[in-house]
Amino acid sequence: MQAALPAKAAARPHLPFGEWGLRAAAITYLIVMIAIPVIVINIEGLRGGLELFITDITRPAALSALWLSVWTAAVMAVVNTIMGTLTAYVLVNYRFPGKRLLDSIIDLPFAIPTLVTGVMLVLLYGPQTLVGGFLDQQLGIRVLFAPPGIILALLFLGYPFVIRAVQPVLEGLDLNQQEAAFTLGASNWLTFRRVVLPAIFPAMITGGLLGFARALGEFGSIVIVSGNIPMRSQTAAVYIFGQVEGGNMGAASSVSVILLLVSLVVTLGVDYVYRRKSYA
């Protein structure tokens, strides 16, 4: 057979331009959509100089809002890391009535608009409702327009994060490792603690951190549920909104920078944990 090899005998026949074009498109997209906004905020926030920045941040309302955002998100992250892990564990390992329903509605917070979540919570815990009224009058717990309401909203939208992060890891776990532990005398609990937990720990952390970061910036549900009372139930996101509406760009920018910074650190932390976890 004498024919000369055709030009397309090369293993990767697509033009270098095509490759570069793709890469350029992807990077441009990411930079324009994400990197630039981040940079813009930072520049805008520090435009008036460091002093002004500090002043804006240390305003009582701003500090209070930031602190509220952080501690409510943290509480939510801790609770949901525990409950989320338990939920994932139960879903992967057992059969029980209601399992399919549970598995189906776990993604609800991902699907539902946050505003609708807020409305739902108002209808459930508002002072005129059964539940809300009971809590308020009998136990003195105000849910709406107070931190408990915020935490409830955050719990709702953060629930799936840890579950869906841990579930695939649990499913992929080598069953034999746990069986090996049994044959060596380990009880169910010990096996969970020494064999399963170390394997799912990275996923728990990434899920929890992601949920935390998400909760920090939550707006739609909080704006309905918290009443936006400055110094009492106003989170950072709502504070920023208020400042923007009121035209106080400086204050809005400053607090945005802080919020963004925290989110960024958390995201990088997630990426770091994710890249480090290498327990096959």
Binding site: K8, R12, H14, G18, L22, R23, A26, I27, L30, M33, I34, P37, V38, V40, I41, Y89, V90, N93, Y94, R95, F96, L102, S104, I106, D107, P109, F110, A111, I112, P113, T114, L115, V116, M120, L123, P160, F161, R164, A165, Q167, P168, L175, L210, G211, A213, L216, G217, E218, F219, G220, V223, A237, V244, S253, S256, L259, S263, T267, D271, Y274
Partner: protein, 276 residues
Amino acid sequence: MRDKPVRTFWPWLLIGAVLLYAGLLLIAPIAAVIGGAFEDGIEPVLQAIAAPDALVALRLTFVLAISASVINAVLGIIVAWVLVRHRFPGKWFFNALVDLPFVVSPVIVGYVMIVLFGRTGWLQNFPIQLAFSLPGMLVVTVFVSLPFVIREVMPVLASLTQEQEEAAYTLGASFRTTFFRIVFPAIRHGIIYGVVLTLARALGEFGAVAVIGGGVQGVTETATIYIYRSLHDRNDVGAYSMAITLGLVSVGILVVMNWLRRDSHEKGTQHVHPTE
């Protein structure tokens, strides 16, 4: 050990605790909103939904959501491809960048747009009017729903080894042919699931569009902004009705999500949730 029926005591305690938590957290609010909206019967609800500005708001929401989904689908596939198949310095940075829209507060997003494109903004003379306008709302909607397709497609692409593509090349297929006949069918599931998630996120967007859109009734008022305004105007029925409508759409999306997830599970293609 998987899926085993529970015969001892302790697991039931665990299951009970989980069901209780999930029930209170997820189901109770749903029940409440259904109860609250239909408090005075079905009629008011239907009327409220049929109100002209409600319908306009709904239409706007859908237009924005679908447009954003299309944009994010196409560009998402490209980004996913580049991030999985290419190697270049700083790739890890861009990879991490993709997760940012998950965590950035929507209010900040809207605010950035104002800073850039507002009347006194940096790019105030940008040819397209982006502040307080539809295009601006589209941009922010694209931003907040950006990661989903990418994050769903990436793991599927990664598990599809290059060998299949290389086999196609050795058989003479061009890059385009290979992509559409070999790669695309394999990642199709991931794309669809990602688009569904994108749609859900875009439909529910509030903070960003509220800031950048200005919420002008009939023009830049989405369904979510409509709810917000109705609550302020003490139009509870209007708010609840719209909430139910959006809620129903979300449940519909949820059903599709579940069906897709189960389907892919059976087929063995791995779904990785956006949190990964």
